[in-house]
């Protein structure tokens, strides 16, 4: 942001919102990270803690909403300030959803304990999760530094996530076809993968919001949003070709 406001308490309030977003980002990231490691290490204790911590994000989102509405009512923000505040509301919603995703993943730990697989079985899921989390880190960092170039770079990376999701989908599908006993665990993992893919989408949403805050308009080109999984089932041959 350029110069300071004449009313300095206004700056403080905006700073508070930005700090709160950064905290929420950190917390959401931490939740997702730990939910994944709970799955990999079959740590139901860790999973329970992740589930319990979701309330922190819910409260933070409510706090940001209240503060933002108060600022709008009291300060009547204009232009970049208004975009910043509205953007903050949207980002906090996205981050809260990311936290929910982490919680959903953590909830599956209990169901998967019985049918525990070897650690290598989860390797690709872990890699996928770390890619999504890198996106999230990048977007939050870019927001903190108000860097438009890095934001646009984040958006470019979104198709990598989609591609990786599609390949993970195929992999799990092929496991199920191979050994029907894997169906339970693979279905759970598919949902986890879906959740991680949604995290990537939310990160992209945040990137778009930050772009709007910085420029006043949304990114022009429609980004390649879709993963390719809806095609996978239609093309059984390809699965068999790959796995048989």
């Amino acid at each position: 942001m350029s110069a300071q406001h004449i009313v300095r308490s206004f700056d403080k309030e905006l700073d508070y919102l930005a700090k709160k977003i950064a905290e929420m980002g950190k917390h959401a990231r931490h939740m997702v990270e730990r939910s994944i490691s709970a799955i990999v290490q079959d740590d139901s204790f860790l999973a329970d803690r992740v589930i319990a911590e979701d309330i922190v994000l819910d409260e933070a989102e409510r706090d940001i909403d209240e503060k933002a509405i108060l600022i709008i009512a009291l300060r009547q923000p204009m232009a970049v300030d208004l975009r910043e505040i509205v953007g903050t509301i949207r980002m906090s919603a996205d981050l809260e959803r990311i936290g929910d995703m982490g919680k959903n993943i953590a909830k599956r730990v209990a169901a998967m304990t019985e049918i525990r697989q070897s650690a290598s079985f989860y390797k690709n899921l872990e890699a996928f999760a770390s890619l999504a989390l890198r996106q999230l880190d990048e977007v939050l960092d870019a927001y903190a530094k108000q860097s438009l170039e890095r934001i646009d770079a984040v958006r470019e990376h979104d198709d990598e996530i989609d591609a990786m999701y599609t390949s993970l989908f195929r992999e799990l599908l092929s496991y199920m076809v191979e050994y029907p006993s894997n169906i339970t665990v693979c279905t759970h993992l598919l949902f986890c993968a879906k959740n991680i893919e949604r995290i990537g989408d939310h990160a992209t949403n945040i990137a778009e919001t930050v772009h709007y805050i910085l420029t006043g308009y949304y990114p022009l080109s429609e980004r390649p949003k879709d993963d390719q999984t809806y095609e996978v089932g239609l093309d059984k041959k390809r699965i068999f070709q790959k796995n048989v």
Binding site: S2, A3, Q4, H5, I6, V7, F10, Q76, P77, M78, A79, V80, D81, L82, R83, T215, G216, Y217
Partner: protein
């Protein structure tokens, strides 16, 4: 800009000097017909000076000198062919402080039509007065008090009386110099509603210090700073994502 919009007034390289001080540094700005154009900017930025150029009110200030051109329907108002009295009958003005004449409400409104000879009979004059008061949204409030003093009305009513008085001479353009700065929020809201109504028949230029007001009533906004035009554009654009840093800083309250 939208080709349907026609230009009602146009300033071309307007410079104003007060003695040796230059108040405006070459303003070129178009006022679009049947739209409200808001002039914003910090105090002393020249927005009121520019407004006064549009009906040559600067002529009344001693030591003021105007160069450049201001066109009203392609007619240069600083050209000697257009008399200033005729100009002011076509470009009316409403001032910051409500300033009704210390006469009756009726006389206040009837004064303009009377000096310009717009009514041929008493009946016609009555009709003009009633219509103007109706348009200004004041008639129903004061129809039983037409012959009471105009100065006895409330501040907001006085300002609407001044608007009715300006309308009574059937101007094409109405200039408003901070018309709500002396009014409470309810009176302000009434005036803003009135401005929106009047837009159908008149072209309005309003100077305001209130960003919110400019945002609420205008379709176009011009941002002035230090006697220059910083930015002109659709009001939505100016108030959500202005192009110029100085506009941004001003409307978000960051002027240092």
């Amino acid at each position: 800009m939208n080709p349907e919009l026609s230009i009602k007034m146009r300033g071309l390289d307007v410079k104003v000097f007060y003695d040796s001080n230059q108040a405006l540094h070459g303003i070129t700005l178009s006022i679009l017909e049947n739209n409200v154009t808001a002039l914003i900017g910090p105090s002393g930025c020249g927005k009121s000076t520019f407004l006064r150029c549009l009906n040559r009110m600067n002529d009344t200030i001693e030591g003021a000198r105007v160069t450049g051109h201001v066109f009203l329907d392609e007619e240069d108002i600083y050209d000697s062919s257009l008399d200033v009295v005729e100009l002011r009958s076509r470009v009316g003005m409403v001032f910051q402080k409500p300033n009704p004449f210390p006469k009756s409400i009726y006389e206040n409104v009837a004064y303009g039509p009377r000096i310009h000879g717009l009514a041929r009979s008493r009946l016609e004059l009555d009709e003009i007065v009633e219509k103007s008061l109706l348009k200004a949204g004041l008639f129903n409030e004061i129809k039983d008090r037409l012959h009471d003093a105009g100065t006895g009305l409330s501040g907001g009513q006085q300002q609407r009386l001044c608007i009715a008085r300006a309308i009574a001479v059937s101007p094409e353009v109405i200039l408003m110099d901070e018309p709500c700065s002396a009014l409470d929020p309810i009176a302000t809201a009434r005036i803003e509603e009135l401005i929106d109504d009047l837009r159908k028949n008149y072209t309005i230029v309003i100077v305001t210090h209130s960003m919110q007001q400019a945002a609420r009533v205008s379709q176009f906004t011009a941002m002035f700073h230090l006697g220059t035009l910083i930015e002109f554009g659709a009001t939505e654009t100016i108030f959500t994502s202005p192009k110029e840093q100085r506009t941004q800083d001003y409307i978000t309250g960051r002027f240092g």
